[in-house]
């Protein structure tokens, strides 16, 4: 025990009630990213080292045909060309990802609500091929779906109205929005989205990824500057690169870094000619899904106003999930939605549909590739969005929307507090419904996924390349559809698996453990 304290760094816990920007926040902004314990980091590197050695051994055997090769290779005729599969990513995929890949791509055979059914799969050749035993694992608690408000359901008003619309309009649209594919439903949905967000107009697309990657090039081009957060999503990075503007990256959620970059940009201008930039666009996300952190929106808006830059806010995970009225991170901080220049979001996570929207002007209708070339959204999906949005706004006459937003906030705070008390390292803001729990070691990634499934809980585990190589994690997504019983059962199972796999790395214990013994608190909720 003593040696751990000798080896560990102190943790990093930040409360920002009165930062240098004074009274911008109407509530405490509590985020924590505990440092990796030194011993755990060393053991993780050692584990990866051992697996790399075995990876080289297997590659050697495959090359000399001692062992049969199951994975993609170049053809015989192409052996003298530039090699395709020799970089680290492919090495990693062949030798590590394949061994634990039964934790991913599990087929679901029911609606992915709070509970779901999975097809049981077995592999006899170490995950190269899978076969289905024919059994269905029933009532698996779903902690992995982005189902924040619980609208992924096959019963209820949303599903009924979507079914009616399918009867009336069919499923396929067979055209783009500019040609014949613009149904009255699309117009209705866009007006509703604009009203929901409190802006003048909005535009919707069939795919959230395409919304980002196709619209950023339409807004900025050469001679413009994009200031993008370190941990932005691939779609934002792709859109920024496609646009051809200069990209500068600031440290994650770090306002001093952003201010320094803004000042440098305005003082020095473009790289060689020193002319002023045509436009400066700050690109941030509402909730970062791998870290669970929330953007410091009031400070970003203050900086944007001071230095005359534009702000692009990607609310993929935060729309519907944050804020007292469910209007996203703008509502959560209580800032004016007109201060954010471009708000983008997706319908997949909170509304149970598919697609993305962006709030801007008529310019995009003719200049965005996604608007001009992509097929329009399918009518039942549009109807699902309309019904769920009306439900959240309370316009369908019930209070179900408000209830769900409140339930989600309560569930989030409860789940995070309990996990912290148990001693796991949890990243992110205390109000964010995305909860990453650190696993670190490569073998524990596969072991955690399998042990949780054995106990009927489905989780998502993430490793390299979505996260830095030693910081692999399990990511829980809390939903308003989870009842307190389900959360309690999930928590007791997570604690049990955490003890089995030794995952409780955290250095700090909360005060209540002094008042009540640790064991009694944990085991009184088990009901089996």
């Amino acid at each position: 025990m003593l040696s751990e304290y000798l080896f560990s760094f102190s943790f990093w816990f930040q409360v920002n009630v009165a930062s240098q920007y004074g009274t911008l926040y109407n509530r405490p902004f509590v985020e924590s990213f505990e440092e990796t314990p030194m011993l755990v980091a060393v053991l993780t590197y050692m584990g990866y080292g051992i697996l790399t050695i075995f990876g080289y051994l297997r590659d050697f055997l495959r090359h000399w045909k001692i062992e049969k090769c199951h994975i993609a290779r170049e053809k015989e005729e192409q052996k003298d060309f530039v090699p395709l599969y020799q970089d680290f990513e492919n090495f990693y995929t062949r030798n590590l990802y394949m061994r634990i890949r039964d934790s991913w791509n599990r087929p679901i055979c029911s609606v992915p609500g709070a509970k779901m059914d999975l097809l049981e799969q077995a592999s006899h050749d170490f995950n190269w091929t899978f076969e289905y035993t024919g059994r269905i694992v029933q009532d698996v608690i779903n902690l992995g779906s982005y189902n924040y408000l619980g609208f992924a359901e096959n019963t209820g008003p949303c599903a009924d109205s979507a079914a009616e619309v399918t009867m009336k309009y069919g499923v396929g649209v067979a055209s783009t929005r500019q040609e014949i594919g613009n149904l009255e439903k699309h117009e209705e949905m866009e007006k509703l989205v604009a009203r929901f967000l409190g802006v003048e107009s909005a535009m919707a697309f069939g795919m959230g990824f395409a919304t980002n990657s196709m619209n950023i090039p339409a807004l900025v081009g050469k001679g413009c500057l994009i200031l993008s957060d370190e941990l932005n999503h691939t779609s934002l990075v792709l859109g920024a690169r496609l646009s051809g503007s200069t990209i500068r990256v600031f440290k994650h959620n770090n306002m001093q870094s952003l201010e320094k970059l803004l000042r440098d940009a305005i003082v020095h201008g473009q790289p060689r000619t020193h002319r002023p930039w045509k436009k400066i666009l700050i690109v941030v996300e509402g909730i970062y899904s791998m870290e669970g952190s929330i953007v410091r929106l009031p400070e970003v808006i203050a900086l944007k106003k001071r230095y005359r830059a534009y702000l692009y806010l990607d609310e993929a995970h935060s729309i519907g999930a944050l804020g007292p009225r469910g209007r996203g991170v703008v509502d959560y901080f209580g800032v004016d939605s007109h201060d954010v220049d471009v708000m983008m979001g997706t319908f997949t996570k909170s509304f149970g549909a598919a697609g993305g929207y962006i709030e801007l002007i008529e310019y995009l209708r003719s200049h965005s590739h996604s608007a001009v070339y992509a097929t329009s959204m399918s009518p039942p999906v549009v109807e699902q969005i309309i019904t769920s949005m009306k439900c959240i706004m309370g316009e369908d006459g019930t209070t179900i929307g408000c209830e769900r937003v409140r339930q989600l906030a309560e569930n989030t705070v409860y789940f995070r507090k309990r996990l912290r008390k148990m001693g796991f390292i949890i990243y992110g803001n205390k109000d964010s419904p995305v909860i990453p729990m650190m696993l670190y070691m490569p073998a524990k990634i596969g072991a955690f996924g399998r042990e949780m499934l054995k106990r009927n809980i489905g989780v998502v585990v993430v490793g390299f390349p979505a996260t830095p190589i030693i910081e692999s994690r399990a990511r829980f997504c809390i939903s308003a559809a989870h009842t307190k019983d389900m959360l309690d059962r999930a928590l007791s199972v997570i604690s049990e698996v955490g003890d089995l796999l030794q995952l409780k790395y955290s250095r700090r214990r909360m005060q209540p453990s002094l008042v009540r013994p640790f064991d009694n608190n944990m085991y009184e909720d088990i009901d089996d």
Binding site: M1, I50, F54, F126, A443, A447, D499, L500, Q502, K504
Partner: protein, 88 residues
Amino acid sequence: MICASACKMNFKNLREYLAWLYYQYLLITGIYVLEPWEKSIFNSILFSAIAMVIYTSYVFVPIHVRLALEFFSGLFGGQPESTMALMN
């Protein structure tokens, strides 16, 4: 850390405890994900390395310790002996 959580796990007998310790060894070194023949290779290499370390320490450590003690006692205790020898 291992002892604290082991107490919570309610092991019924020593065999279960040893199996859990072996499981922890598999997880920490990363061997858990490997195929059985790879596990055997790693275990045999590690076991033979540890066996060699134990054998070497058994054979050589007493000799080295004795030589070290002689060297240090020669430094401190040797002076009175030599002056006594000179006087005699």
